[in-house]
Symmetry: D2
Subunit: 465 residues, 4 copies
């Protein structure tokens, strides 16, 4: 299946003026890809029918040989879709025309248009989920490298877009890593168990095949490498929602990382830079400028996903044995959701594998915080000597004095109004300095990095064939 002709390694939407941004990666939901997936389904059906004795010997091979997207006029098929609301009737007729009568009789036998389109969607989704999963794995590998390399690289943590307490860049990268690994875990779950063949005929009974229907469905699934569903699922769209939601989860994780990168790359923060070179993200007028193009592209993609997911979830309200409109409303959003997620994942590999952290700048930003992020730590260290409430009050007062004076917390403590009390309590300047060392207030940061890397190693282990 992986090398079936007609699928392309790269996206096929000629004319996309923004393709470089939104159609990066290996997800292909172009018209050409849809068409080939439909033809693959028709061909697999012919083979399944032949195996079941419901088509002439050789019909399966004949249909398979004819079922190449390149041999069809895609634009004409697209226009013909207006007649019945989808392109399959015309496609089946056109496919039949290319065949001798006996093989032609096997084309689309027992099937309805929705069988072909839904199964094709599953094929596209399977390839897309695999491609997205591979790119998430690539991004995770890069995040793991960053986490390992910067396990102990100090930086200031930021909450509500304000500096808070020290963290490490390794912990930041470990958070990215964990998100990526868990998102691809869900993608793999969906890909492995929820992508099922659709084969029910006109109204889900497979009546045209008599009692042979379920057997053909099972063979068809085997031919295509898809799961066999309990029932035809023409108007049970849980699979579509699950595939979409798994992508939206991945997209959410990617958007978070890209948002962090854009913020850390701000001129005033400058703690990470994206790989430049080849004119990328650059500006001839401002040579100091290096736009984080990959992160921006990730966000440009991920921000389109939630609305598309809402469309798929809304469209699940489908009537009777085939919906009048809600089914049709899924095709484009599903393709777009897969493609946007895929493009974001592909950009993320680029973004993370080329990300250059600047530990010196991280340290400088941390130091510029004046020691205030360590106030709580200082209070804790002074508590044994002063008692907890007194320690807290002393630090608060010293902090207020230092802020007002535009001085670091160190000076507030050692040269502020209560400096005498400190000395009287036997607290030495060295002890104060030590309490103000951010490296001493990292809690479980290192352990968390290790845990994330260990979990990642297990994920990788499980992924191996």
């Amino acid at each position: 299946m992986t090398n079936r002709p007609g699928y392309r390694g790269a996206v096929q939407t000629p004319g996309g003026l923004f393709d470089g941004v939104f159609s990066r990666g290996q997800v292909d939901t172009s018209g050409q890809a849809w068409l080939q997936a439909m033809l693959d389904t028709e061909a697999a059906l012919a083979r399944a029918l032949e195996a079941a004795g419901l088509a002439a010997p050789g019909a399966g091979a004949a249909v398979t040989t004819a079922a190449h997207a390149d041999a069809f006029d895609l634009a004409a098929l697209g226009q013909q879709a207006a007649r019945t609301g989808n392109p399959v009737p015309t496609l089946a007729r056109e496919l039949g025309r290319r065949l001798p009568p006996e093989a032609a009789a096997a084309v689309h036998k027992g099937a309805t248009s929705q069988d072909i389109i839904d199964t094709a969607a599953m094929l596209l989704a399977r390839r897309a989920l695999a491609a997205i999963g591979a790119d998430l794995a690539g991004a995770a590998a890069a995040a793991a490298s960053l986490a390992a390399a910067h396990r102990d690289t100090l930086m200031i943590g930021r909450t509500l877009l304000q500096q808070a307490v020290p963290v490490t860049f390794g912990l930041v990268a470990a958070g990215w890593l964990t998100g990526l690994d868990e998102a691809r875990g869900r993608l793999a779950q969906v890909a492995g168990s929820r992508l099922a063949v659709q084969f029910g005929g006109a109204a889900g009974t497979l009546a045209a095949l008599g009692e042979a229907g379920p057997g053909v469905a099972t063979r068809l699934a085997a031919e295509l490498g898809l799961a066999v569903p309990t029932l035809p699922w023409h108007t049970d769209r849980l699979r579509i929602i699950e595939a979409g939601a798994a992508c939206a989860g991945a997209s959410g994780v990617l958007g978070k990382i890209a948002r962090d990168v854009t913020l850390l790359a701000q001129s005033e923060v400058a703690e990470v830079h994206e790989r430049g070179g080849d004119g990328r993200g650059g500006s001839s007028a401002m040579p100091n400028k290096q736009n984080p193009v990959a992160a921006i592209a990730v966000l440009g993609c991920t921000k389109q996903v939630p609305g598309l997911l809402a469309t798929l979830a809304s469209a699940a309200e489908q009537e009777h044995q085939r919906a009048a409109g809600a089914w049709h409303a899924e095709w484009l959003p599903l393709g777009d959701l897969l493609q946007r997620t895929g493009s974001a994942a592909s950009w993320a590999v680029d973004m993370l594998s080329g990300l250059a952290p600047d530990p010196a700048r991280m340290r400088a930003n941390l130091d510029a915080a004046g020691g205030f992020p360590l106030a709580e730590h200082v209070a804790g260290l002074l508590a044994p000597a002063l008692g907890r409430p007194a320690a807290h009050d002393l630090v608060a007062k010293a902090s207020a004095w230092a802020v007002a004076a535009g001085q670091p917390l160190r000076d507030g403590l050692l040269a502020g109004p209560d400096a005498g009390r400190l000395a009287a309590a036997g607290i030495t300047p060295d002890q104060v300095e030590q309490a103000l060392d951010p490296a001493g207030y990292l809690g479980a940061a290192g352990a968390f990095v290790d845990a994330a890397l260990a979990a990642h190693a297990r994920t990788e282990q499980n992924d191996r064939p």
Copy 2:
């Protein structure tokens, strides 16, 4: 502007296997259309600069001559978009290459990529809103014809998908008409006052043009037929939301009509049929079947719109002087929203202009309701003779009897347990029959149809040049 080369009368998304369904009509947001709109913007800018003495004489004409989409390699531009996050830098360079140095100096002068893309989006939106408005007008004309022709055609009204009280098909069509006219009213408002040129330079100051900037912006707007905004609106996206919401309003109205058509066309209801012919909506296997393809296509389009609108509304949260991702996230959803709405509107013209109501079936369905929808009316007519509470009780009892007996309300009244009381009160069978006549219980239906037609006539009057 209307005949500018490179724009196409029909959608240009080659490879769209579902184009016949989703890309009907005159809205064009293909890569080709985007490209031409960007080139039109660059050309108009060159002309504006020349007029302001900021470009060499003849530069405007030269750029205009070179600014033909057909002369550019769309796919290559699309791929180059990956370098900086959008295709404009490459496009401007390519355009300049086709020109002598003096004219080339006028290309993109003072502008930033966002100026070109946002203005191009406004041009596409203007053409799209015009096309959608025209199709809504066509649909409204068809609805008006139906309302006028069927002003007094009786049918059963339905609430909560249950038969309720009598209405007329004219009133149903008048409701469609009013929705269509009010939706296009809002589209015209947006088109007339909210589509504005974008021209602010790198960060909205037009610094590269010194003090001449606002004057150039005004000329640029005039060249393109767009409004002049108070300020460059790089990160004020209200215009985008308003254009999207106006389309979503139209889409909502269209979806309601199409839903009605699919329900009225149900085999068991059969009160309207879509025009068939040419194999449309047909089934060779079931010759009695005539799928309402246009209504289904409308719904297939309109159901995609709310999610796209949500994306645009979310994307309005844009940072500083140009957003990192949120701006990029608008391009595809805006185009898709315009195109889905346009396709729905185009299908609606087809749906309504070919709609065949079946007054006889409407009457039959109404009659089959057994008179129960008139129960309240009967009670009201009996009240003067019996007193209101007694009249109500009598009808309720007769109704219950009739339902239990599987008889119409008429029999419940004239042959049921209280038939004697009716006669004793001097109520004749004729009076009962008259009270059961649905034509006598239409209230303001006719007046409402007239009001809707009069409002439509005023709309048409106002639309004339």
Copy 3:
């Protein structure tokens, strides 16, 4: 945990004028429920700290005793949330005030507000998913009964809201059943593995607890019955998306079923009725009317879910170590999404357990289709005698003749233009009648019902403790 005081068995949103519709069932995301869940988290934290030797002996019990929502002024806490953006700082202070100093010292120790709110959200979600799962199980049981009882009850299948080919009501119910079971499968997955404690302190390092942090987190998770995450997930919101998406999947399945019920209950179709009684869905004026209130309520709920899911998916783009706004934007939509899904599930139990199918009406509607749904079947049966193309042509001609004449297909075949050809081919009227019998054209309908019931039985088996 299940009987912890302060949780209520029913929704607590006093003032909800629409509560009867939208707040049915056991999901409780009221302010009271949030408050108790936060207090439960604080209490469990105190116990965990005590166990780790980080709080005074007895502190855990003391905090637990004080941590009753009823003892707090909810409205005042709500208003205080304005000061810092969330109610936890005030809540922690108020809780501390109710305790002796040693126990008070254990309150909120090492935690940040987000630890408390996120963990509380997980507790609410766990209870909600359990309640929704139980109602889905109830609905599935009802659907299974319908499927078993009506395994062979004939009805017309409908595609694109047009009559198509015969199906059985059992197959329809089996489709509902399968959707329900698969949706609750995913809910159970999320509930079982993805609801994790949140405990990271100010910026995810648990610095205030030194090296003891991870151990306390593990104990806290055990106290609350939640999973231990690899890392604190302050800005990795995949869990939220997954919980929301699992509900949206269930909601999509429920909406599909309810849409079917409203359509099948249409006056003109009347193949199912919802249980009435007690004035429900009734109309005194129209005694024949029985609105499908439960189905309408289900749809009223489910249609709100996709937009809420989009909000959660969008909000996943969270900055650094705590988001400025995106985190806050989750609280209400998550609660609403859980509650709408829960209300829909609860209504669905009512809808399906009281659903009255009308096999006679189903048969009547099928018969009224005039045999045309069997046209393809007839052609197939005639093929051996006539050859496939001739058989098809003959049936098509007979069909067209019958439709034009307003006659059933039977007459078109036996009394139409080609009646002689049939006879000449040795086809007897009996054979024609037999081919027109819908019971003979059900394909795998029965087998599919059996398969769905078997899968359901396995699901039930697995669910048992």
Copy 4:
């Protein structure tokens, strides 16, 4: 109407643990507010009926006197809503019970439940839009003050979250101002022309009132101060979409401003601060920390709006004369959308009126950019002496040298490799310094601020009574 009893000046959702964040301001869509609006509608209907001679003299006054929300059991009404899918039948009966028979006969006469709920929604929306408009005006006034006071306050402009070219804080505030004014313009449009009474009776014909229906509708509209629609709009939901979209537009503008504030308030940027005091946004542990609570709250609200808008837009697909579910699905999202927007607008007044810009820090950040944002300007100023290409090359080379050397652009020019060429061309260090002055590269910034303030003054002028 403005002082009608039962409406509250502040939100009434007791139990909202997050009310301080999400329910700020004057928008009230609580159950109590809904109930009073429904009662106001019933009362106005009784008065209109009396005026039309369709109710007993005094009935209008009697109903009005009884129609106080406080006299009804809201929770009980809410639960009763389950019986018919909405609370109005119970409410009408309860209202009638409180009245003598003659007045009771006027209650709900001719109306359907949807008439009452839709009209009540319009009343709530009118009050909400007025409240939101007032808060937007307050925010605009604050933005105008900032724009005027800081018309010429230099700061660095930022695109794609990177420093770009100089702007002024006045221009930033002017952008906020223009967005706010244009958003409230649209709100006023909707409030002034699109909020219409709903009165159509059971199926939109007002049959129960015979020919008197339209006259009563007109009087009812006058009583309530709402517009008279062409037709009852039971299933034409354009008004709902328009009200929701106008709010979403305002919300989009507010979110943009709040995002800017959070970014400008970052510790590393620190160009603006929100008003603190009273413990707001503060942290006892980190006295240097001042979280921008108002901006965060704005974002917490605005991020919920797009999903709610999508729900409303989706729900517009309503069947026949009253929708089974889609109508019901509007009530909560509409109320939530109004309330979130209102809360965001109220917070925005606080945010902007208390915003403290720090011009010195703005200047410092600008200066720290090392002159590179002026590179293009320098090249332009050198061009007359050196020729344009040479000037550009020289600056590019100097920039690259300076970046590599970690020096400002000034040194790259005056001490870099081409310093001699500059001197040889007669360019003095003074000229270079002048070219590097950001105040000289502001283009139309001042003019744009003036234009925004002038437009604001016109808006204010038009708003006066």
